[in-house]
């Protein structure tokens, strides 16, 4: 294990979050079995009070998850000097088999946490706790992911051995390599551009229609927003990054987070994550639109989430398109 300050703080932080989520899940289980709104019993009163604690914990966890994702990548980036062949986060994450899974789990947990908060927010708008069981069922589903993240991250840090020869973004995300990353990097640019702008356009149109008219394109919008999230990351690796680096062969999705590129990666990834949370949130709420006590609240929340996703995705598109147009660098011929 590498005794790096940030490694220690990530490790401690994730263990704490894991404990808090387990604590919440324990009361979640009691709520699932013993919840009875009509009862004025002590247990029911206690459980109702616990819901306040759990909402608070989950909001903190959500914020923590976001910070920890970025700190994790940042740390991987800093540690790259310790590994032969690593020049940025891409190489460090590749040192053992747990690096990329940790990162993916962090993203998943962030989105799941967002889903839970959306559900919680909607539930709090109704007089009769209509979503209480669903909410805590989701919490029970989230808990294993959070535990998994802590374990996988722990395994990653424990197995970080300096002097391991790894391959870095140059070879991982190069057009000649093998594997998913290289596949993405080597994907022909023109189809990728069409795919990206197509997906973005469709999502935004569907979202706009849903925002103005309600219903109709909502489910489609929600699904598309998730697809667009994936497509955007792929596009980032395939061609967007190249414009930021002004190097036709550099496809790294992490270097863009560094100061040399004005930390452009942060707003970009933040926009994508916000968009994904908003989109999944809209989708999560659809099954509950018919619930009497939520009839008025849900469309309103969905509208707001849609707006958030639209703005986030538009920001992403605007910044990346701006970078493509305004750099002197041209990708023609590659």
């Amino acid at each position: 294990m590498i005794m790096h300050p940030a490694v220690i703080s990530l490790f401690v932080g994730s263990v704490l979050v894991c404990l808090m989520v387990l604590y919440s899940a324990r009361y979640g289980a009691t709520i699932l079995t013993r919840w009875d709104l009509r009862s004025g019993s002590e247990l029911q009163l206690t459980l109702e009070r616990k819901t306040y604690l759990i909402s608070t914990i989950m909001s903190y966890v959500f914020v923590f998850q976001l910070f920890s994702l970025f700190l994790f990548i940042f740390t991987a980036d800093k540690l790259s000097t310790l590994f032969t062949g690593a020049m940025c986060a891409a190489g460090t994450l590749n040192v053992n088999n747990f690096g990329y899974p940790t990162m993916v789990l962090k993203v998943i947990n962030f989105i799941l946490g967002g889903m839970w908060l959306v559900l919680n927010h909607a539930d709090n708008r109704a007089f009769d706790y209509p979503l209480i069981k669903k909410k805590y069922l989701l919490l029970m589903a989230i808990a294993p992911f959070v535990i998994a993240e802590t374990i996988v991250q722990g395994a990653y840090f424990l197995n970080l051995k300096a002097h391991v020869i790894t391959s870095c973004c140059g070879s991982l995300f190069s057009t000649e390599g093998e594997g998913i990353q290289a596949g993405l990097a080597g994907f022909p640019v023109i189809p990728m551009k069409i795919l990206f702008y197509g997906a973005m356009g469709l999502t935004c149109l569907a979202g706009l229609y849903f925002y103005i008219k309600g219903r109709a394109t909502g489910v489609f919008f929600s699904l598309m927003s998730i697809v667009t999230f994936g497509v955007s990351v792929a596009a980032l690796i395939s061609f967007i990054s190249v414009y930021f680096y002004e190097l036709p062969t550099h496809h790294c999705p992490f270097c863009i987070l560094q100061g040399e590129y004005h930390y452009a990666g942060y707003p970009l990834y933040l926009a994508l994550l916000c968009g994904a949370v908003g989109g999944t949130g809209v989708g999560t709420l659809f099954p509950f639109r018919k619930i009497e006590s939520l009839k008025d609240a849900i469309p309103l929340i969905q509208k707001r989430l849609t707006l958030m996703t639209l703005l986030s995705y538009l920001l992403f598109t605007a910044v990346t398109t701006g970078a493509i147009i305004f750099t002197d660098f041209r990708l023609d011929g590659y």
């Binding site: 709104l37 004025g40 019993s41 109702e48 709090n124 009769d128 706790y129």
Partner: protein, 228 residues
């Protein structure tokens, strides 16, 4: 209209120190009246008052405010309704020490999201009506008993509630201040606010302005007197 239907409140249920504070009470309160709950201390007046004021959920029975059942509402909605409907005056006033009279008056409205400046103006207006504008910036511990009482009344009024609820408001006041209190309550009642007071002070339940007196003993209603 506030309606209590067969309300029972048990504390520490199932434990050896189980205690039935309110036993199967049904009661209707007219928000146009000044109503007094009378009875010796420990009779359950305060508990009935807090059930009326939606502060305590009854163990059994149901409570309706303007025809709406509130017993099964989650706390966050109950609080919202309570905030709009009731203003509370407590036995020892329960003002927060260390901050000014003005801030004390504003506190109940903080969560409403009203702009600080407009809230402050409303609070100052209330203090002026109660002839306290000179004391607005004084800390609570520097106020006299009568001034503290009026700050407590101003605080109860800040959310412009329909009904004022007061729990033994005169317990620590001399006769003059007690009469002043009931005078203010009568004036508020004339402006259309309902008043519910729990008290065993004859000055209160014997006052001419009182419309209804409900006598409570051992958690039950033993007498109800409507004065016309």
């Amino acid at each position: 209209m506030i309606e209590l239907q067969r309300v029972t409140k048990v504390f520490n249920k199932g434990n050896s120190n189980e205690f039935v504070a309110v036993d199967d009470i049904s009661l209707t309160i007219d928000p146009a009246d000044i109503s007094v709950l009378k009875g010796p201390s420990g009779a359950g007046k305060t508990t009935v008052l807090s059930v009326i004021g939606a502060m305590t959920k009854p163990t059994e029975g149901r409570v309706f405010i303007d025809g709406r059942e509130i017993t099964s509402l989650p706390e966050r909605f109950l609080t919202g309704i309570r905030r709009k409907t009731f203003g509370f005056i407590f036995q020892q006033f329960n003002l927060i020490k260390g901050i000014t009279a003005l801030e004390n008056v504003m506190i109940p409205s903080y969560p409403s999201g009203e702009k600080h400046s407009s809230l402050k103006k409303r609070a100052m207006d209330l203090l002026q009506i109660l002839s306290l504008s000179g004391k607005a910036m004084s800390k609570i511990e520097w106020l006299s008993g009568g001034e503290a009482q009026r700050v407590a009344i101003a605080r109860a009024l800040i959310n412009n509630p329909e009904i004022i609820i007061a729990d033994e408001p005169t317990a620590h006041l001399d006769t003059k201040l007690s009469e002043e209190f009931i005078g203010i309550m009568a004036a508020l009642n004339k402006e259309g606010k309902g008043v519910v007071i729990a008290s065993h002070d004859p000055l209160i339940y014997g006052a001419k302005v009182v419309d209804t007196v409900v006598e409570i003993r051992d958690g039950r209603i033993v007498d109800k007197e409507e004065r016309l």
